[in-house]
Subunit: 602 residues, 2 copies
């Protein structure tokens, strides 16, 4: 199956290729050498997939498109105060190479030449001779590969760029440029001569669309604040004197360059890069513009068109009833947990957490505000906005103040929630974190059992009357079973059962703790004295999971052969054991079905 | 627990209330009567929750804020071509009451008085005397309640609005207004005098943020296209000569009115309404602006700041292995389904489907491109963008072309996907829809069994050797069991087992089909001849689900009492039956655990 988007790009590429209007830029002699037939486009997605069509691998100079990224770099390195003091953010209403400044003698915005030169000047001022190297390296990180430079174009621009030279000296006159004017111009001319392809531009645009993280390399290059401000100036001033029309008709922040490139960046959706050297009267690539417009109009894409349903962010919201933990509980503990099921509330979230979704979550949490333990699982929430983190902080404050224990699971230290969470854990015993939800549930259940006095931790039980598999057997019958068993001892860390082995026995645990684990190491359950493991040997001839000794372990092993001999002489007892096994399985089935229902209900 | 957002509004309200700067509007005599101390704010969420603080219930006139909604109404009713021909979308660079027009003699945009009067004119032209009534009704639907009108303000505006009168005549001169000028002005003056509260404005703004659907009433008022274009003109021209700064610093489309109101609308996140009569030099409410700025800066909210992870849209992607259906299968059918498990692929989606998520889904579907049956479950995808619907259409085309069967489940006819889906179902036998995923799986499994010749539909089986519960018993033993049973007949639609009854027997199905159902009517399983139901009576004394005859049914009923008598004389057979029951349950447990894992893995 061909991808629908690849097909779309192919069709539009073929259609727009026939448009021969416009003219190759000629204000720099070197640019006139471009091949007017070239036409390439590329679309990069938020998971790093890159679609390409036509001449998407042909290099050309980035020119004015560099302005957006150098502005971003300046904001990121020098901070908003310094940059915003030097350069405005209002559309100028004039051509990109206008020498006019605002009434307080600043460049109107960073997308006109004056503002871009001021930006390069700020970086030159801070970095000195390393300024261009930093810019070059940053552009390369946006593209995800080391970009080359077209020295001929650079020298051509330097030789003929007198208008920019005039702008630079005017900025120097008003103290906007505080340093060596020729040095700044050299940086500016060289940054415009960096070579990119349509594919590079797509990845660069996608990095802006992806909150500043390059979706191909995974590298975070600039902060979300800088992204939103860079896209803001692209929106208000990126497409020359066409801002109102552009946002109205296309609605995707964009920037073009006289080299024939255009980037368009739709937050959380896509990055588009196009290349075709023939420009319209405004200096925008004719075919590139058409591609932007077609993408927007065909798919109804627009930065102000967005519809989510915030309610899908909660995928499950339920009380633990003593059935959710992987630790097998004693019957009395299970009874207590069932009686106290309202004490533990589990909320599983899914998707990006934004202002709106976290507000929704905060209200849902406040609604059923009675549980003592509130477990919030975040393993399906890969991104958390600053707003969501701030709201979460207040939710923690509110819930801990009323004495609730808040237990988070399923996120790591790279999460934006981590710093605030770590601070909470340091100052409040009421906030905890577990890697796995199952561990969090187990811990919370232990706390409930401990709190309400139901803990029956049998350090050791040698008597088989605790075994639910043997429930209903008489003392004599239990003794006969015990006689058939062999006592076994295992050291901490020893594997008692190997998955894949043939299943020839079952074990009654008398002392210590064992864990049932998958071969991946994931724990399915942990068992305490009085419980049975390996019991599926009675109906299945193969082991399906490992069992490990977590502590020194004592148990009684009953071989299937011995059971079979016993069965022939004690058929009633055997029938009873099988009925007990069926009951054990029926209980686990109820548990599993409950979980399926919980996860499917939302 | 106090909600974090309520707390935020309270704190900021208290802080900004002390700001006494600005002046009440005085260009209309009636407006000077406003109480300068008033200050209210309200925030409405996408699920229809409304936060309020201060004087949020005090009515005031909507004034220029009406421009955004009347523009939306014009676009919605008259179509983009007619409206966009009459009115531009570029910022004017002049005051809101400027009489200057564009070079082709159109108003610059719908947010200045000239553009707004032109809008009212378009509606007046189309609706005649019903124009104001339509506007009034539309504003009321945005607010979710019938709004009043301040006749004194209306009469005051009409008596003093000579500048607007001049603008209207100029528009008439250039044929932008084609009808009765006084009639249009009357509509315009009355629309400005509609009374709203900060709460009303919040809901109106939230309706724009929510893709045109009022989140409180649930009513769809305008289309997503109209929403995005309305927010576009608010962004480029909504806050007077401050567009670049506003999008850069606040980044939330907004519109203010001289009555002291402001709306701010952040797509998919929130709607804010504020009211405080004192205005700054630009004519914007001082405290209202502060509230907008505080909300944006504190929470880092900005329309161009957005980060989702598109990969969370697929919550499960797996092959059916014959274990997923609720129909109990014959062993030979199960074997066949297991062998052919690659034939059925199930993809469960979650969250809003956008351009980016549907593209991701399309690539995921193309990756494992071998299944004959592709089941796509959409019950957790409450919204689908136009782009997603377009891409989905291409995906269907591609998959059906290669011969795959596409089966959708979990959405209804109100979904934006429905029209295209219905068209597909009409022209292709390869596209189907089921309400429930479980029904889709069952149908697909039936198809696989049918296709590969494994269908063993026993219309009737009177012999018990097919029964897995009795597996391993000799012919004589089976005959003895049969002798203990009573033959039963049930009519279509008859209830055989009642949930809650005591469980005193089990049934061997010989002819017909029965369904196991919850009391809600949800079907858990359907059974065919050769299968057992009510078998949990062997270990549980209560019925947990209903069993209904879907067709005329014949079965053998074995009472638990009879089983118990039989057990005492045939303990080996009883032990065998219990072991078979344990195996049945173990199989179901594997199924349930597999499903839990699938739903937890993403």
């Amino acid at each position: 199956m061909t991808s629908p988007l690849q097909e779309f790009l192919k069709q539009r590429h073929a259609a727009f290729k026939t448009d021969d209007s416009g003219a190759v830029a000629d204000y720099i002699p070197e640019l006139t050498k471009a091949n007017p037939a070239h036409f390439g486009a590329s679309l990069a997605t938020m998971d790093g997939h890159v679609y390409e069509i036509g001449d998407s691998a042909v290099p050309f100079t980035i020119q004015s498109i560099s302005k957006a990224f150098v502005f971003a770099l300046a904001l990121e390195r020098l901070g908003q105060e310094r940059v915003e003091k030097a350069i405005g953010v209002e559309p100028s209403g004039e051509a990109f190479n206008s020498i006019r400044l605002t009434t307080d003698n600043r460049p109107f915005n960073p997308m006109v030449n004056a503002g871009a030169i001021a930006c390069s000047g700020l970086i030159h001022h801070a970095e000195g001779n390393g300024a261009f190297e930093l810019i070059h390296e940053t552009l390369s990180r946006f593209a995800g590969r080391k970009l080359d430079i077209d020295d001929d174009v650079y020298l051509s621009e330097r030789a003929t760029g007198d208008r920019n030279r005039a702008i630079a000296w005017l900025l120097h006159n008003y103290d906007v440029l505080k340093c060596d004017v020729d040095g700044v111009l050299d940086v500016y001319f060289r940054q415009c001569a960096v070579l990119v392809t349509a594919r590079d531009l797509a990845v660069m645009a996608a990095t802006l669309a992806n909150g500043g993280r390059n979706p191909v390399t995974g590298e975070q290059i600039i902060s979300p604040y800088v992204v939103s401000r860079t896209l803001s100036v692209m929106t208000s001033s990126g497409m020359y004197d066409y801002a109102g029309e552009w946002i109205y008709r296309v609605g995707i922040p964009a920037k073009s360059g006289v080299g024939g490139g255009i980037i368009a960046s739709l937050p959380a959706q896509l990055g588009l890069g196009t290349f075709s050297p023939k420009l319209d009267d405004h200096g925008n690539s004719v075919r590139g513009l058409k591609m932007c417009e077609a993408l927007s109009s065909h798919y109804g894409l627009h930065v102000l068109s967005r519809a989510d349903d915030i309610r899908t962010c909660i995928i499950a919201d339920y009380n633990a009833t003593g059935l959710s933990s992987r630790r097998n509980r004693m019957p009395s503990e299970l009874k207590l947990l069932e009686e106290r099921s309202g004490e533990i509330r589990i909320v599983e979230l899914v998707g990006a957490l934004s202002f709106a979704t976290m507000d929704f979550v905060s209200r849902r949490l406040a609604e059923g505000d009675r549980a003592s333990f509130i477990l919030i699982d975040l393993r399906r929430t890969p991104s958390v906005s600053d707003a969501a983190a701030l709201l979460a902080d207040k939710v923690i404050e509110g819930l801990t103040q009323r004495g609730a224990m808040l237990v988070f699971s399923g996120f790591d230290k790279s999460s934006p929630l981590w710093p605030s969470m770590a601070a909470w854990m340091e100052r409040s015993p009421n906030v905890r974190h577990f890697g796995l939800l199952e561990d969090a549930i187990e811990w919370a259940e232990d706390q409930v059992i401990f709190r309400y006095g139901g803990f029956e931790y049998h350090e050791s039980t040698s008597h088989l009357n605790e075994q639910s598999l043997l429930s209903g057997l008489s003392e004599d019958e239990l003794e006969e079973i015990a006689d058939l068993c062999h006592a076994r001892d295992y050291k901490t860390g020893e594997r008692i059962i190997h998955a894949g082995d043939s299943a020839a026995s079952l074990f009654f645990l008398q002392r210590g703790v064992v864990s049932i684990k998958l071969q991946s190491g994931a724990r399915l359950a942990s068992l305490l004295p009085g419980m049975v493991f390996g019991e599926m040997a009675l109906i299945d001839d193969k082991r399906t999971a490992d069992v490990w000794a977590d502590t020194p372990v004592q148990c009684l092993e009953l071989s299937v052969d011995a059971y079979r001999r016993y069965r022939s002489t004690h058929p009633h007892c055997a029938e009873r054991m099988m009925a007990n096994l069926a009951k054990l399985l029926a209980g686990r089935l109820v548990l599993a079905n409950t979980k399926v229902e919980l996860l499917s209900a939302y």
